[in-house]
C-alpha cells in the first residue's frame, strides 16, 4: 500500500515538474556536470586510473544487454555465443562519454551510435575509436533531445549506463530516450540507487578514497528503482522486465550481481508495441 502511494506521489510531482520544464528541452543537461566530465578527458582511457571501475564494469553490463536482447529474441540464433552477438542491432548509447561501453558494443558488431553533450569527450571517443579497425561506430556531440528530432523510433536498443544520476530532468530525458526506441525495443539503464548505502559507499567512501573521481556524484540526483520504474511505466509505456542489483569491490576491481539493489542496479525495460 505504502509503496503504491509513494509511487503515485512521485509521478505526480514529476508531472508538475514536467509542466515547468516542458519548453526547455536542453535542461536535462546540467552544464556543471558536463564540465566536470569534460575535465576527466585525459584520464578517461587510462587503465589503473580513477575511471578503472568504469572499464571493469563492461563485462557485466554487456552481458546484461546481451541477455536482455536474447530474452526479447532480438539476437540471431547463429550469432549467440560468438563475437558477432549484436550483429544488425541498432543501438544508441546515450551519454557515452569517452566511449568505454560504446566501443565494446561496436566490437560485438552492433550498429552503435554514441551521443554525449560534452564536445571534449566526444572528440576523445572519436580519437580512441581508431583502435577498433573497420567497426561500425558513430559519435555525435548532441543531447538526446536534439538527437530525438531526427531519429524517432530508430533504434532496437537504447543504453544509458551510469548517466541517469547526472541528469536533472529525468522525466524529459527518459521520454526522449524512449521516443527514439522502436516499439518492442529495449531500454537498458544502470545507475546507483538513492539509499543510505549508496550515499556512504558511492559518494563518501568511493570519492574520498579516489575509486571514483571527486565531485562526480550528487546523491540528491540519484533515483530509486521503483521511481524509475514508475516513470517508465506511467509516462513512457515501457514494461520493466528486470531489475538486478550490482555491487563493486574496489580492491579487486570487480563488479558482481547481487540480490540487493541498495548500492546500484541495472534495469531492463521494453517499449510497448
Amino acid at each position: 500500500m505504502n509503496f503504491i502511494t509513494k509511487k503515485r506521489n512521485i509521478s505526480n510531482s514529476i508531472n508538475v515538474f514536467r509542466f515547468i520544464t516542458q519548453d526547455f528541452a536542453k535542461d536535462t543537461i546540467n552544464p556543471n556536470e558536463v564540465e566536470h566530465h569534460s575535465n576527466l578527458k585525459d584520464i578517461w582511457w587510462k587503465s589503473n586510473g580513477p575511471l578503472n571501475a568504469l572499464h571493469s564494469f563492461n563485462p557485466l553490463r554487456i552481458s546484461f544487454i546481451i541477455n536482455g536482447l536474447l530474452n526479447m529474441k532480438k539476437i540471431e540464433t547463429k550469432n549467440i555465443g560468438t563475437r558477432q552477438s549484436l550483429k544488425n542491432i541498432k543501438i544508441l548509447d546515450v551519454g557515452c562519454g569517452g566511449g568505454v561501453l560504446t566501443e565494446a558494443l561496436s566490437r560485438l558488431d552492433s550498429n552503435v551510435t554514441g551521443i554525449d553533450p560534452s564536445k571534449e569527450l566526444i572528440s576523445i571517443a572519436i580519437d580512441h575509436s581508431v583502435i577498433l579497425r573497420n567497426k561500425n561506430i558513430k559519435y555525435l556531440n548532441e543531447s538526446i533531445e536534439e538527437h530525438m528530432k531526427l531519429n524517432v523510433e530508430a533504434y532496437d536498443a537504447i543504453v544509458t549506463s551510469e548517466v541517469l544520476e547526472h541528469i536533472s530532468n529525468k522525466y524529459s530525458f527518459l521520454t526522449s530516450c524512449v521516443e527514439c526506441l522502436k516499439p518492442g525495443g529495449s531500454l537498458f539503464i544502470t545507475t546507483p540507487n538513492r539509499t543510505f548505502c549508496s550515499w556512504l559507499s558511492v559518494v563518501k567512501i568511493g570519492e574520498q578514497l579516489n575509486f571514483i573521481p571527486k565531485g562526480t556524484h550528487q546523491w540528491e540526483k540519484f533515483i530509486c528503482p521503483h521511481e524509475l520504474q514508475s516513470i517508465l511505466e506511467m509516462n513512457c509505456q515501457c514494461d520493466t522486465i528486470a531489475i538486478n542489483g550490482l555491487t563493486y569491490n574496489p580492491f579487486t576491481n570487480r563488479w558482481c550481481w547481487t540480490d540487493s539493489t541498495d548500492i546500484s542496479y541495472a534495469l531492463h525495460a521494453v517499449k510497448g508495441k
Binding site: 560468438t82 563475437r83 555525435l140
Partner: protein, 485 residues
C-alpha cells in the same frame, strides 16, 4: 559540425593502416610446443573467429615427417621427450593434435612411477621405493618432435594463422596506454608488426619478458646440467606394467629419470653436476652405460656408521607405517614392489646431449597488450616433468580468459582479462614450482650444511611416509597429472 572529427579520425586510421606496419590481432613470439599450442588453441575459440594470428618462429621450417614414423619396425627416437599430463592431453585433443600423435603411435602411457633414493640401505632400497599407480594412466611420454609436428600440421591447415620462420623477435615496444598497439620487429627484416596482443612464448631467455615495464625476474642456476639420451633397457619380464614404468632415482648428484618409450627403449634425463656432466658426455658409449648402471645400483656410502644408523631408523619407521596402513591398504600389500632398477643395455648412437638447469619466475606475466606463457614466464627443474605441462596450462588459462572477455566486447589486449589470467596462472604455477624446487634442494644437491646421514634420513622417511599414505600419494599424482585435485 559533427562530421569533421569523424573525417579526421578516418584519415588517421587510413594513415596508420597504410604505413609499413603490418597488423595482426595476436602475435605469438616463439613457435615451440607452448607457442604452437597457444596459436591453435586461440584460433579455435569461438570468440576468435576471423581474427588474424601471426606466429613468429626463430628457427627454420622443419620437416617433422610424421607419416614416415608410422609402423617402422626399427623406429628411432629423438632424445628430447616430454611427460605430458592428462590436462595437457586434453588441450592437445581440443586442437586436434593428439589424434595425430595417436595415429602414428607417438605416445606411450606411463602406468606406474617408481621413485627411489640413493642410500636406500642394506635392504637395497626395497623398502624405500615410492610407487605411484593411478587407475588411469599417469602421463604420456611423447617425443617433442611429435608434439611439434602434430601442432604445426594443424597450424598450417588453419587459415587464420600465419607462420613466419627464421623470424626471431628482436625488439618489442609495448604501449603505455591501451589506446596504442604493441609493435614487434624481427631480426634481419624491415617490417614492423603491429598487434593488439603480443604473447611471449620465446623460452627462458625471453625478449618479450624483458620488454615488460617493472619486470622482476627471479632466477637462479642450479649449477647442474641434465644429460639426455635414448637407452635400450632390459627390465623384469613378469612386470605387469612392462614398458609403462617410469623410473626415477634420486642419486647423490641429482635425480635420474628413465621415461619409457616402448618395451625396450627409454629416454634418459640425468641431472648431475656440471663437471660430471662434461665427463659423462665425453665417455664412449660402453663407458657411459657402465657409469649409468653403477649410479642406478650404487650403495657406496653404506660403509659409514652414521648411514647405517639412518638406515635402521628408516626401516623402523617403514615398519610402523606399514602396520598403520595395513588396514586400509590391503590391496597394495599383495603387490610386491619391484625395486630392481632396470639394466641399461645400450645407448642410441649420438643421442647424448646436455643442457643447463635453472629456476626462473617472472613476477609479471602480463602488461599492457602483452602476456607471457610457458618458459618465458617460468622455468623449472625437469625432475617432475612439469615444465611443458605448466606451459600448456598457461595456454588453457589464457585462451579461456581471452575468450570470456572477448565475448563481452573487450579489446583483445584488455588488461583486466590479462590480469585475470596472471592471477589464475600464478596461483597454479607457484606452488608447483616451489614444490619442485624444494624437492630439488632436498634430494638434488650435495648440501654442505646438513650432515649427509640426516639428509638421507629425511629423504627416506619422506619416501616411506608417502609410500604408505595412500591419500597423499593420490594427491601428489593428481597434482602431477594437472587435473583439479
Amino acid at each position: 559540425m559533427n562530421m569533421m572529427p569523424m573525417k579526421l579520425s578516418a584519415v588517421r586510421l587510413y594513415s596508420s593502416l597504410s604505413s609499413n606496419k603490418k597488423y595482426y590481432d595476436v602475435i605469438i613470439a616463439g613457435g615451440g610446443m607452448v607457442g604452437c599450442a597457444m596459436a591453435s588453441k586461440l584460433s579455435q575459440e569461438p570468440s576468435m573467429c576471423g581474427a588474424s594470428i601471426l606466429l613468429l618462429e626463430g628457427g627454420l621450417k622443419k620437416d617433422y615427417a610424421l607419416d614416415t614414423k608410422k609402423n617402422s619396425p626399427n623406429r628411432s627416437y629423438s632424445n628430447r621427450v616430454s611427460a605430458v599430463s592428462k590436462s595437457s592431453v586434453q588441450l592437445l585433443q581440443s586442437v586436434g593434435a593428439w589424434q595425430i600423435i595417436e595415429d602414428i603411435k607417438g605416445c606411450n602411457a606411463v602406468k606406474e612411477m617408481r621413485i627411489w633414493n640413493s642410500g636406500g640401505g642394506q635392504s637395497g632400497g626395497a623398502n624405500n621405493v615410492l610407487t605411484f599407480n593411478n587407475d588411469n594412466d599417469l602421463a604420456y611420454i611423447v617425443e617433442n618432435d611429435n608434439i611439434l609436428g602434430a601442432l604445426y600440421k594443424q597450424i598450417h591447415d588453419d587459415p587464420n594463422i600465419t607462420v613466419h620462420y627464421d623470424s626471431r623477435v628482436n625488439q618489442c615496444n609495448l604501449p603505455e596506454t591501451p589506446s596504442e598497439m604493441a609493435t614487434v620487429k624481427v631480426a634481419n627484416a624491415e617490417t614492423t608488426y603491429e598487434t593488439s596482443l603480443l604473447i611471449g612464448s620465446d623460452g627462458y631467455g625471453s625478449k618479450v619478458r624483458s620488454a615488460i615495464n617493472d619486470q622482476q625476474y627471479v632466477s637462479w642456476e642450479y649449477g647442474q646440467r641434465a644429460i639426455v639420451a635414448t637407452l635400450n633397457i632390459q627390465s623384469d619380464e613378469d612386470d605387469i606394467y612392462k614398458g609403462h614404468v617410469a623410473w626415477q632415482k634420486f642419486a647423490q648428484l641429482g635425480p635420474i629419470a628413465l621415461l619409457p618409450l616402448d618395451n625396450q627403449i627409454c629416454s634418459l634425463v640425468w641431472t648431475t653436476s656440471i663437471e660430471e656432466a662434461q665427463r659423462l658426455i665425453n665417455l664412449n658409449d660402453n663407458e657411459f652405460i657402465q657409469a649409468l648402471n653403477d649410479v642406478l645400483s650404487e650403495e657406496k656410502e653404506l660403509n659409514k656408521s652414521s648411514m647405517l644408523l639412518a638406515d635402521d631408523v628408516v626401516r623402523m619407521v617403514t615398519t610402523v607405517l606399514s602396520k598403520f596402513s595395513q588396514s586400509n591398504n590391503n590391496n597394495e600389500l599383495h603387490k610386491v614392489v619391484k625395486s630392481v632398477p632396470p639394466i641399461i643395455t645400450g645407448v642410441t648412437e649420438n643421442s647424448r646431449g646436455s643442457f643447463p638447469l635453472g629456476f626462473g619466475h617472472a613476477c609479471q606475466y602480463v602488461g599492457q597488450r602483452v602476456a607471457l606463457v610457458g618458459d618465458a614466464a617460468h622455468r623449472i627443474h625437469p625432475l617432475a616433468g612439469q615444465g611443458v605441462n605448466l606451459g600448456f596450462n598457461d595456454v588453457i588459462e589464457l585462451s579461456d580468459q581471452l575468450n570470456k572477455s572477448l565475448l563481452t566486447g573487450a579489446d583483445i589486449g584488455d588488461l583486466n582479462a590479462l590480469l585475470n589470467y596472471e592471477t589464475a596462472a600464478q596461483r597454479r604455477n607457484v606452488p608447483i614450482m616451489l614444490g619442485v624446487d624444494g624437492i630439488q634442494k632436498l634430494y638434488g644437491s650435495s648440501n654442505n650444511f646438513i650432515p649427509p646421514a640426516i639428509m638421507t634420513l629425511i629423504r627416506n622417511v619422506g619416501i616411506a611416509f608417502c609410500q604408505s599414505a595412500s591419500s597423499m600419494k593420490k594427491a601428489l599424482s593428481d597434482k602431477a597429472s594437472g587435473l583439479p585435485v
